[in-house]
């Protein structure tokens, strides 16, 4: 067990170091959410005037949505490092060593979850600067961050599973893009659910992005619906476990096909 943990930490360090060595990538990762926040913040500013919209600040409404959207965008690329490792033979080098197989998967997911957390904190701080007020307090904010990390881990696992099965960068990019934008727009990221067409209101219930955004919206409210939060977090946890299981299956399939 200690070996597995040590191995995971070593794998996490590897990714973190590679990330920090690419200053431009770091910069883009940090700047991107700023663009989302202010671009969409301006574009949809007058949504607050639509009858049925509760609340007065669109930026405040948007901030949790951008946190979820950014988590989706950045963890979607997770599988790319798998593709590169497979192409480079690094994956096979790891597999020939006695490293715990779980550590190879887990170490990378820890890195993805950590990056998601960092990015989310930056966006929340930006939202605060732009006038959003998180009246829900610290407990719900932590619950939201946990939810976002679950969403990020689930999506990273999905991306990894695709990478292990498809094995080319282009097909992973395609498959990830195929779901990122539809999932984002099919959630209450930009528009409250009660203003959506009926079929969307039904579909939104099954969208993991919306589960996370729902929890996020609670951070803005002074009366928190904890049963909603509990249900959404449980659903996100279940999804993460399913995706993690899928990625281990994909990993085994890769090992068998070598």
């Amino acid at each position: 067990m200690t070996t597995a943990l040590a191995n995971s930490a070593q794998i996490t360090t590897r990714y973190l170091r590679a990330f920090l060595r690419q200053p431009s990538y770091v910069a883009f990762t940090l700047v991107q959410p700023v663009i989302w926040l202010f671009l969409f913040g301006q574009l949809f500013k007058r949504v607050v005037e639509i009858p049925g919209f509760t609340g007065s600040s669109y930026i405040a409404f948007l901030t949790p949505g951008v946190v979820a959207m950014s988590a989706l965008f950045s963890t979607g690329w997770s599988g790319m490092s798998y593709v590169i490792d497979m192409e480079r033979g690094v994956m096979d080098r790891f597999l020939v060593s006695p490293v715990r197989r779980g550590a190879l998967i887990g170490g990378e997911l820890v890195y993805q979850a950590g990056m998601t957390l960092l990015q989310s904190l930056i966006i929340l701080a930006l939202g605060l600067l732009a006038g959003a007020r998180f009246d829900g307090g610290i407990a719900i904010t932590i619950a939201f961050l946990v939810g976002i990390m679950l969403l990020g881990t689930a999506f990273a696992s999905y991306s990894n599973a695709l990478a292990l099965v498809l094995r080319t960068q282009n097909s992973v990019i395609g498959a990830v893009n195929f779901v990122v934008l539809p999932l984002t727009f099919l959630s209450s990221t930009f528009m409250p659910v009660n203003l959506m067409p009926q079929w969307m209101q039904d579909a939104v219930k099954f969208n993991p992005v919306n589960w996370a955004v729902e929890v996020g919206r609670q951070t803005l409210s002074s009366s928190i619906d904890w049963s909603l939060v509990g249900r959404d977090l449980a659903q996100l946890l279940a999804l993460t476990l399913v995706c993690a299981w899928l990625s281990t299956r994909a990993f085994r399939a890769y090992q068998r096909s070598v």
């Binding site: 070996t3 040590a6 191995n7 070593q10 590897r14 170091r17 590679a18 060595r21 480079r88 033979g89 690094v90 096979d92 080098r93 790891f94 597999l95 020939v96 060593s97 006695p98 490293v99 090992q255 068998r256 096909s257 070598v258």
Partner: protein
């Protein structure tokens, strides 16, 4: 043309010591019914360099993948240092090092970081790990590259880093899959020196795959020639060459002639020439004394109206061994498409 059945030649096949590597009847069928291996059996004596020689697609890499626990054979058994690759993969992994065909260096990490992570994966840490990292960097002339990102290293240096990584945990058996493919002649000579040293000074057992006859001849104490997923012959390089008594005569014909015509022309020389093969315009044969026989051969060809472009006499090489046991010239085979 005749293809001889698999045969074991030369010395040093039977020993009382437990083999470092043993493979028994390995077969591997990939999806889509590609039969990469059709029953491969061999054993490697501890402390020696063993070469699997064959063209691309012969099945060499598949054998290495099975022996290093990356891939499972469809049927057959294999063991490394007495550990079964299927039943005890964990134990096998601890005693082997692999330098794969493709460089497996992490390009975004420095040379030292690559070595350190590799060591950590084997449970090494602290001063011991640092000492080994420094030692290997020095040994492979990479000390100056210690803090350089691997992406900025030359191909030769990356390859050395690959080998260094394969040694960090002091394995007992090192697998080198095409270690010099793609290296320039200088880097190749360098790598050869290193490989020879591994077995000689470190007492490592080295299993090497190569499609360079020269490389197998130069480095290995024991060579197995593999073709289409089967070992066609194995033995020491000297033993294999000695089996081909006499010299090799090679005549390049000026045109393509029907095989029957050529054989008819040489029909009267049956007591001098052995193993006459015609491969395109290349006519090869073995004779006891090449220099004496060549004029006779040329005269016979001339008499039958067959025009000759060039003629050479050579001591037997592994090339000739390859030709004899596979029935086709080595270089032709190497340009063939890759199966796997």
């Amino acid at each position: 043309m005749t293809i001889q059945p698999a045969a074991s030649l030369g010395t040093a096949t039977a020993t009382s010591a437990r083999p470092a590597v043993a493979a028994e009847g390995l077969t591997k069928t990939y999806r889509g019914d590609v039969q990469a291996l059709k029953g491969v059996t061999f054993s490697v004596r501890p402390g020696t360099v063993f070469a699997l020689l064959g063209p691309n697609g012969a099945g060499k890499s598949t054998i290495v993948k099975i022996l290093t626990t990356l891939s499972r054979p469809t049927t057959g058994r294999a063991s490394v240092m007495g550990h079964d690759v299927l039943r005890e993969p964990e134990r096998v992994r601890r005693v082997i090092g692999l330098v794969a065909q493709k460089s497996a260096v992490d390009l975004e990490a420095t040379a030292a970081e690559n070595l350190t992570l590799q060591g950590q994966l084997y449970g090494l840490s602290g001063p011991e790990l640092r000492r080994r990292v420094s030692g290997l960097l020095e040994r492979f002339g990479l000390t100056d590259a210690r803090k350089r990102i691997a992406r900025t290293l030359s191909g030769g240096m990356q390859r050395k880093l690959d080998v260094a990584m394969g040694l960090i945990h002091q394995p007992q058996v090192l697998f080198l899959d095409e270690p010099t493919t793609g290296l320039d002649p200088e880097a190749r000579a360098d790598m050869w020196r290193e490989i020879a040293r591994l077995a000689r000074e470190d007492g490592l057992t080295v299993v090497l795959t190569t499609h360079y006859l020269e490389e197998a001849d130069h480095l290995a104490q024991h060579v197995a020639i593999i073709d289409h997923g089967q070992i066609v012959v194995e033995g020491t390089p000297e033993g294999l060459k000695a089996e081909l008594r006499g010299d090799a005569i090679q005549v390049e014909l000026a045109n393509t002639y029907p095989e029957a015509t050529v054989h008819a022309a040489l029909g009267g020389l049956g007591d001098v020439l052995r193993e006459v093969t015609l491969d395109g315009r290349s006519l090869r044969s073995r004779v006891d004394r090449g220099a004496g026989a060549l004029p006779t051969v040329l005269a016979a060809l001339d008499g039958a109206g067959i025009r000759v472009a060039t003629a050479t006499v050579a001591r037997p090489s592994l090339d000739d061994v390859y030709l004899r046991y596979t029935g086709h010239a080595y270089s032709d085979d190497n340009s063939r498409g890759t199966i796997r």
